[in-house]
Symmetry: C2
Subunit: 236 residues, 2 copies
DNA sequence: GCAAAAGTGTTTTCACTACACCCATGA
DNA sequence: TCATGGGTGTAGTGAAAACACTTTTGC
């Protein structure tokens, strides 16, 4: 350890150091449509304008750790789904100085959200067609994330991170419809999803949207791993 | 401009700056198999060991510009295909100090390669099953890039960046076979590829691998754009 | 008993797979 | 003339798309 501290000051001396930040694009689903979580910026420049949540990274944290921390502080949630989206490094992207930002893309369960944390941060959920102007290049980050969401949810089971632990088939169909922005035939959708055999049906029904009630299902990670091990492809 | 210089020193003061680098994973295709370009490292630590080519980024260049520069210097090529792969930011990933690296993934035409540049850099092409131990986390970067190449070449027409401007159908089939590591039925492969109608057949034949000779084709960008505009999906 | 959402099957269509022979040419 | 790689067509199979009615139950 002391060797690496020594090297640090010797080996790469003379190279320029740069500010590095993470910014998080956070999506949620309110059982009707997909939404984006935005924050009123607290620091200069652009204080009070809408922006993504982010933070500078410190030299003792990896980018992933920093993103995790940002997500935890702003939503109160731990173990949320997130992954790297893209770096944004145009020299003049931030009027406050030269900052390279790594954008992270995150999917959270709205029902688990800690409302206190969110309010602390002056946050609000926006429909994708009502997103306000954002600071710096955050609009680009958001567009990029929306693209990625559409592609990713088709081939990876990431959508379950947007649903409550127990969800109904109509609910997941609405999620996909809201992301793809088109209607889906429910017979074909259910048939395909159930054919994967990666869900467990519970005995409970959700009667909040119909008199008949819809069965609640859980995503079954073990079955999904088996599904993958057999060489099958998830695609919805 | 002077405002931003002023802000730079004021607004984000007190935040830690970090060394940022780019590293490039460069693939080529020698008409037989896909290969990886590696370099003998010139600087401490790990001088003389095999590594990816990279460089620290300066505060007046974006990451993309830096990657482009690195690729130009090491191969002599301009306008090569490259895109961001992933950031690598573990705190102790570099024994020479805290460095965040952004890995770029690049595909080049071996026939256009400037051999002087390559020799200057002590470079060598390696088959994917003969890759030597690499410094730091460069092995991880390479594994990640190989994964990405397999996925990407299936659904995007990036493979043409690995072929000469004019190529034969047997050639492109071998390219795909070498990446997928399995044989492909040539009747089905050709049928599908030609059905996209994104290639232009020239009148020339390549007789270097057979007496009959194989027609040379060119990738037709305009036709490809049309293909995409019609909503069709490239998948090989 | 009726409105409203949940749940279910069949037919058609199309894309992928498997598979075998002829062609052109240089040596 | 023959060895070598280039080039082509067809039948069978399976997944996706299109499509309409029955079930449940709170009001």
């Amino acid at each position: 350890m002391s060797v690496s501290l020594l090297d640090m000051t010797k080996v790469y001396i003379g190279q320029e150091k740069i500010l590095v930040a993470v910014d998080c694009i956070v999506f949620g689903f309110d059982s009707k449509e997909i939404k984006l979580l935005l924050f009123k910026r607290k620091r200069e420049p652009h204080t009070g304008e809408w922006s993504l949540i982010g933070s500078f990274i410190k030299s003792d944290k990896s980018l992933e750790e920093s993103a995790e921390e940002v997500l935890h502080e702003s939503t109160g949630l731990k173990d949320v789904f997130f992954e790297e989206l893209k770096t944004f490094s145009a020299v003049d992207r931030d009027s406050g100085g030269r900052v390279i930002s790594v954008a992270y893309f995150s999917l959270i369960r709205l029902d688990e959200l800690n409302l206190d944390s969110v309010e602390n941060y002056n946050a609000r959920w926006f429909s994708l067609d009502e997103i306000p102007d954002l600071i710096l290049d955050h609009d680009q980050m958001v567009q990029c994330a929306i693209e990625k969401l559409k592609i990713k949810i088709r081939r990876k089971p990431v959508g379950f991170n947007l649903l409550p632990e127990k969800f109904t088939l109509p609910q997941i169909q609405i999620l996909y419809e809201s992301i793809y922005q088109r209607e889906i035939d429910s017979r074909n959708f259910r048939k395909k999803l159930l054919s994967f055999d990666i869900l467990t049906r519970t005995e409970e029904k959700d009667k909040s949207t119909s008199k008949k009630g819809a069965y609640l299902y859980k995503f079954n990670k073990d079955k999904f791993d088996e599904f993958v091990a057999k060489g099958y492809n998830f695609e919805l």
